[in-house]
Subunit: 345 residues, 4 copies
């Protein structure tokens, strides 16, 4: 049984890790830390865990976490880059769900996250944990940088186009929408039900932290420079991300083979589902599940390929993908703990 | 491996049975019927089942269903009472999620359901499937009448009071609230998002079909006549029932021992959770889970005991309880297939 | 043109006063204060006011407010009792939307609000502003204590029964449900969309501050002691309160005349609408409107009368009723500014 | 007092016309027809109209409608083109809220709406009723084709760019999102709360009826051919449309003057509000109001201009714009009946 620890477990990502790990056949959470809630049973904070966990939050302590096989960081940015190195040096493998190790260019990281990066060494050694791109590297990684939620939905949707050089890379558009849990469990006025219920808006339209992460991934896939406009929006629901992606085919004749190209690309991926051409994936179809579901579309006489891609931001966009990465790292069945269908309706 | 069939699988109860059975270690769905959708893969109707089921809907046929060990009826009332007897006579055990066999007084049944009952013989032999009351009878039952959603939340909340004769039984009040999935998946104007979103109302305040079922259960527990006022309400959410119950203690001194009485009553029940006195159970704490979670309250100087009780109407209120009953009937672990924590947030 | 000021205008009650006053033909808001947002245009905080108001928040100052004809307090409890007296002494009339002057027994007030009352003199002179009960007194009041949201819905629903001595007053039950705006615009974790969306729960079941206010009003109507159990619940919507009320008729024969009794009681009330017997008022039918809409119900063979009553908690439960009171106090048409139908859907 | 009639008043557009007209100072609804609900008081169908209207639905009859000054068609497509001509010939002016007269190329119309057009004569005479473009023509029009909801939000957002030839017109993108009321009040399974609550999806991604209408308007503004990709999405809320628009500036230096260009273009428009550069308009800021609110954005080093534009689909996207058009046609104050601020929260 793999022993897992969680640092910073009071947020939505933390409770989602606990929910999914509760039924994992080959791993268990033995330690969860929270400075603010130390001593409190996790089931007191999250009543859905009553009867599933006896565990209580404890003070963050490297010594105690060092007994784990793997530690998940579900912390705000800036924490993992300070705390993970010591764990790594003591042989604990780390999956960081924060943004600390996602961006390889540390100047870019510093600019978007407003602080200098403090662990260039481990940033260099970290593997960006998108299994559909880097499964082999993840297998042997000591430190996995778990991708952001929007970047997961956007990259998986664009990858086949860019890897095959089929589209003009100058002006990609990613119009993305997320439920409110993406903003975390912070008591801000702006995320009150009274503020975001029955309303819809864009936010971060002039620049969002996930933009450089998306661009980095797309450029790697395209093996060249990519121009991408990314606008996130807030949907009055709790879970789910939908990304509608627009790109211009270099040769409209390629529309003929797009569907099979996507199906081939993801045929062996346990967590990517390509629907029939022209389908409309719904976020509810992946609620609670680790799947990225997508479909392709074309409008009459147009050279624009449209991809619609959905994930659960807390699962494939965070905790589920982290467990998928753990499964890969520890040679467990990649689907272990991630088998249950989405909750629909 | 127990082989299960589902009759009438296109509604919310049907897809929920499929969702829960997908990870059941000791049973599998081998047959699902729908007259209207025969031939369609279940995953085409319910995209959350893509990758989990190859099964397609088939025409209802007793001959084909007869090869199952157990058949779930997820049909409108009036179907099971006509179709189940033939299956039962061929040795197939039945869990009926409709109302056909819930009411033992068939005149009462006929009045509330607007048609004569057509199977007095099996109505007599049916066991009302509330495991917390009738586990032993369920174990050997050929035909289990799975309780209604409101009746489950209301009965479990009142039982310890009535079984111990602690309250005045003349004027119980059950003020209950349900999410929209309780109305099923019918295309009626009244259940449109545009009609019920951002609104709240009572319905059926002059009399609802679950009233006689509730009364029957409470009277059995009280071993006497019970006066109960039951008003259901519609909440702008999808899943969840909350029931707030009011009863007058015969002796206010009994407030001292109520909490331990409830805890003792349900200590060994795998799916009833009594929270600390004065807690407020939330429906989201059981979303997707088979638990009934409850708490007790007292207002200053009052002899009224207040019980708040929550379930997921599609799980403990329907499909989950049906699987719990199947587990009991087939000597499986009662928790099999029902182990995952609720989806929160 | 009546000149109105608002103290504490950054909350939901404040913006609702501004919304309704924007089209009031006989009164206008000339002053709005907020210590935290002084200097900010109200339309920057509330974009729905863009194009409707040039007004900015200013520091609270009795001198400046003294030029108003009337001042609305939309403040947390404890503010009006300290600040209103000075305004009143300078001849400004006050409508206090907070709880400071609602409870005449100041010991009770102190116990529920956790501080001693600081203005016994004005508490004595304040008129409880439920126009359907105290229109004449309101007309001449210097200080009106605007009723709470739950107390408005509950009192209006029970009044005809109590005024006519038709029900047993020992064990009334008021099961009430409110949208999230009732909790105000405070950045607490518990009111995040991620916490309360898709969920339902009771809260304050062991005692809520509106209980003594409700009891006081009901006892006045009954001219005697009233036992009332009041349980509030949180609905995943923004606006709206529904109260389902239960009382036992002393003489079930009175069911015959209840409907006409209610219709007569409220016939001349511009903001109370009695629907046909057995109707189910929806909160959306009063969204944005100052109406309390109600209906009566009876279950078969029962002596329990059920009343369902709905209001918009921010309108008839707060800002709208405050404007209604202002209209009465200044001999304006009682419906002025309150004429628009509810927003449905 | 202008006398108005409504044909097909049982849908959301019909009730919204009634809501807004209830407080219109210069016009009143004297006739409303519905074949299915003839005889029923409008307030029985829509309880928010109780106390505001005595009117009942009547059978559609040209003779009776002919006494109106203006008739609104709130009907499915295909009705107005058959019924409006006779009214027009009898001197009644018509505002058609359906799609019948929006597309000038009747072959295009026939293709998208699946039937031949039956009134080429009046299609030719109809004025497309976007006041910000065609106010003068509307003033004298006998027949106004009220724009669609998406086309209103998209056109108003793009207009200044296209009228001034600032962007590449080959590959515009309009990613639009709508609340559920846009689908009308039809009892379809797909629009149940249980189906669309807590979910988000694109629909019509391969081609939606509003595409040719949008293209026609943009081409008129650009005075040339325009390539536009338009993808609508369904948001789990009732009212509101947000459109995020993407276009490439021919000369990125033009970013300097975009804000003032937009402000100048709409300075005198009573129902268009340009927010400061980089703002994020929310749909709730226009809920119930006739305003289109928009803002401009630029991402670092990008030549793509982003416009976010919001309307209430039932007001500026339907009934409100229809009343605005009526006001223009009858020389009333253009804001008459449309003065109230949006309902927020």
């Amino acid at each position: 049984m793999i022993k897992a620890g969680i640092v910073g477990g009071t947020g939505y990502t933390g409770v989602e890790l606990l929910r999914l790990m509760a039924t994992h056949p080959g791993a268990e959470v033995v330690k969860i830390t929270s400075r603010s809630e130390a001593g409190m049973p996790v089931a007191d904070l999250y009543p859905n865990l009553r009867g599933h966990y006896d565990l209580a939050f404890s003070e963050p302590s490297v010594d105690e976490l060092a007994s784990c096989d793997v530690v998940f960081f579900a912390t705000p940015h800036g924490v993992a880059m300070r705390m993970a190195p010591e764990l790594l040096e003591r042989g604990v493998r780390v999956v960081d769900l924060s943004a600390d190790f996602r961006i390889s260019d540390l100047d870019v990281w510093a600019k978007w996250y407003g602080m200098p990066h403090e662990s260039a060494v481990w940033a260099e050694r970290a593997v960006y944990g998108l299994p559909e791109v880097a499964r082999d590297a993840i297998r042997d990684a000591l430190l996995v940088a778990n991708p952001g939620c929007y970047p997961t939905a956007v990259q998986l949707g664009f990858l086949p186009l860019l890897e095959n050089g089929l589209v003009s890379t100058g002006h990609l558009v990613a119009d993305a929408k997320s439920g409110a849990s993406g903003a975390g469990r912070q008591g801000s006025v702006g995320m009150l039900h009274g503020e975001i219920g029955e309303s819809f808006k864009a936010y971060g339209a002039s620049g969002h932290r996930h933009l450089p992460e998306i661009r980095q991934g797309l450029q790697a896939a395209a093996a060249g420079k990519v121009g991408i406009t990314f606008v996130p929006h807030l949907v009055p629901m709790i879970r789910g991300i939908e990304a509608t992606l627009y790109a211009e085919l270099n040769d409209p004749a390629d529309f003929e083979r797009l569907q099979s190209l996507y199906e081939d690309r993801y045929r062996n991926e346990p967590f990517v589902d390509v629907m029939p051409f022209g389908s409309h994936p719904e976020t509810r179809s992946v609620k609670g599940e680790n799947t990225c579901r997508m479909a392709l579309h074309r409008q009459e006489d147009s050279s624009i390929v449209i991809v619609t891609s959905v994930i659960d931001n807390l699962v494939k966009g965070a905790a589920g993908q982290a467990i998928q990465n753990m499964n890969i790292m520890f040679r467990l069945d990649e689907r272990a703990g991630l088998n249950a269908p989405a909750l629909l309706p």
